[in-house]
């Protein structure tokens, strides 16, 4: 689809809520899994499941590290556990439990991680998960998903449940845009081309996909046709889609709400250096902490708005044509 970004509807609910609503629905389909929470159930919306299935809901208080180690114990018996909290606390405080006792034994723990990137904008740095993808994707056996809208967030829950072993899903605090049409289908290791074009490939995930689409529209006005791909499955990554698109366009921009270092941009760069070296730019936090402030202002300051993406796309296209 080469849709018009202005036509894309703002989602009614944030992806954290959509994911939890899907979990609630799945609760009746699968009576076996349980859910754990660390006192932010009203923020992750895991309370929806807790209200419906109180016997299968364990709120362990403000104790993220302990929660994941406890989840490992439950999951060691073969039972699937969904654990919810905020991205920073999950991927930093609890990382050793996740790495050594969930990923290493390859246990079925499905992680609901809210407030990814700088979407916890006004809360400031202690609540902004800007290294979460790097931390999680680096651990063997971990699957990492980052949906960008309601359809992909609901699908992410189901994919997590259907995929063996640990799965991390990065969700967002604020409502995003309904990027995907009803026809889109999702798979672990899949991707969705949300706009096709021959001049430059823009790769993204989560909340930045809408910025990429807006950038592509700006560029279309200048006769630069950008291809925009939603790489919601960060690990495993749809290498084929990336390589095929970049071989076609000959230029690539990656934009993500995350540190540049060790994010999707670094991953794609290492693939392209081997398979299809082209003019390339990776956008993200440039080895810096962010700050408190309105989300849009932060996106602009840290170089993740549509304008910044378009500017970098122009640059790589220019470089390619030289």
């Amino acid at each position: 689809m080469n849709g018009d970004a202005a036509q894309l509807r703002k989602a009614q609910n944030p992806t954290r809520r959509v994911f939890s609503e899907e979990m609630l629905a799945y609760g009746t389909e699968d009576p076996h899994f349980i859910v754990m929470e660390a006192d932010i159930g009203y923020s992750t919306f895991s309370y929806l499941f807790g209200d419906a299935f109180p016997q299968r809901y364990f709120n362990v208080g403000i104790a993220e590290l302990g929660m994941f180690a406890t989840a490992a114990g439950i999951a060691s018996t073969g039972r699937t556990v969904v654990c919810g909290s905020y991205g920073v606390f999950i991927t930093m405080r609890a990382i050793e439990a996740i790495r050594s006792f969930i990923c290493y034994p390859n246990l079925p723990v499905k992680i609901l991680s809210s407030h990814g990137g700088i979407t916890a904008a006004i809360d400031g740095v202690t609540h902004q998960a800007t290294e979460d993808i790097a931390n999680m994707a680096t651990i063997p056996n971990m699957t990492v998903l980052a949906p960008c809208d309601s359809a992909s967030a609901a699908a992410a829950f189901r994919l997590a449940m259907q995929t063996p072993g640990p799965v991390f899903t990065r969700l967002m605090r604020d409502p995003l845009y309904e990027v995907h049409s009803g026809a889109a289908s999702f798979a672990v290791g899949g991707s969705v081309c949300v706009r096709s074009g021959a001049d430059v490939t823009i790769l993204s995930y989560g909340d930045i996909v809408i910025q990429a689409i807006r950038a592509a529209e700006q560029l279309a006005g200048e006769r630069i046709e950008a291809e925009v791909i939603d790489l919601y499955s960060i690990k495993p990554l749809d290498r084929r889609a990336v390589i095929d698109s970049v071989r076609k366009t000959g230029a690539c921009v990656v934009a993500e709400n995350h540190q540049r270092r060790n994010g999707l941009g670094y991953e794609v760069a290492s693939i392209l250096l081997q398979e299809a070296p082209v003019p390339f730019a990776a956008l993200g936090l440039d080895d810096t902490f962010a700050e408190s402030g309105a989300y849009d202002l932060l996106l602009d300051k840290y170089g993740l708005s549509a304008d910044h993406i378009a500017e970098n796309a122009r640059r790589v296209v220019h470089h390619k044509n030289r």
Binding site: D39, I40, G61, I62, I122, G124, V125, T126, E291, S292
Partner: protein, 279 residues
């Protein structure tokens, strides 16, 4: 009671009232921030900043100053108000809370005048305070005192108890930990989310001397802070029994007001109630 004492009580009482009014204004203006836990700690912060702490607001980085760490960092609106009222920065900053470019970040950061340490990730502020106390007591021997304020939900974190052990091992006579026992955390009543009692006996078992007080009774707050400061033989803990949302009838004891901002009507009603409270 001496006239001097009387003046202290009055100053702390008025400041606590003023802190609540400022917090209400801030959170209403920016439509974001944590009211419930700010209201429960108002008397404690007022007493610390207007009587207990050995500080120089015109020299915020003075190296011999007493340190304060708001371990329950989300309740920083009250701290920001207390610092402005004490003269660390102009009160006009208050309504920029959480905004782009503000010196008042969503959670405390060390670069704000008067803030001794970054906090906001629960459980971390307490071991940080213990670290400061070790430096002061055993290493640099500058002998400043360290105060830290924790939430009753926050003490769910195992890290809190690791720090409690450390403070006991080194018999830190210069640290005072205050637990804001307001009975409510994010998801509901603390004792339902995670039974944490007996808080006093737990700290005692960890080697701490414990005081239990009504955290809204200014006299008790001051007496306990002075006693804990002067104790000196080891780590001191004050369990302050408080009310989350204290001062506004419809906010009290309700998890909803942990992190929600009032609408206009709620703001007006809350303001009227706070203004009506005897100064």
């Amino acid at each position: 009671m001496s006239r001097e004492r009387d003046a202290v009580l009055r100053r702390v009482t008025t400041t606590a009232r003023e802190i609540r009014l400022r917090v209400l204004d801030m959170v209403y203006t920016v439509q974001s921030g944590h009211i419930g836990g700010s209201f429960s700690e108002a008397e404690i912060l007022a007493a610390l900043y207007n009587h207990i702490l050995n500080i120089r607001p015109d020299d915020p980085k003075w190296d011999k100053r007493d340190r304060f760490v708001l371990s329950k960092g989300h309740a920083c609106p009250a701290l920001y108000a207390a610092l402005a009222l004490r003269g660390y920065y102009d009160a006009s900053h208050l309504n920029t809370l959480r905004r782009f470019g503000s010196i008042l970040q969503g959670h405390p950061v060390i670069k704000t005048p008067g803030i001794d340490m970054t906090s906001g990730s629960l459980g971390m502020g307490f071991p940080i305070a213990v670290g400061m106390a070790i430096e002061s007591h055993l290493i640099g021997k500058s002998n400043f005192a360290v105060y830290t304020l924790l939430g009753d939900g926050e003490i769910n974190e195992g890290l809190v108890w690791e720090a409690a052990q450390t403070a006991n091992k080194y018999r830190l006579g210069n640290i005072v930990a205050i637990v804001d026992r307001n009975y409510v955390q994010n998801d509901g009543f603390s004792d339902e989310i995670m039974p944490i009692e007996p808080i006093d006996k737990k700290f005692e078992a960890f080697g701490w001397r414990v005081w239990k007080i009504d955290g809204h009774n200014v006299e008790e707050v001051i007496d306990a802070l002075e006693a804990a400061r002067d104790y000196g033989d080891g780590p001191a803990c004050i369990v302050a029994y408080t009310v989350k949302g204290k001062g506004v009838s419809f906010m009290e004891n309700d998890r909803y007001w942990h992190g929600k901002a009032p609408n206009r009507e709620q703001y007006e009603q809350a303001k009227a109630e706070l203004e009506g409270a005897a100064p």
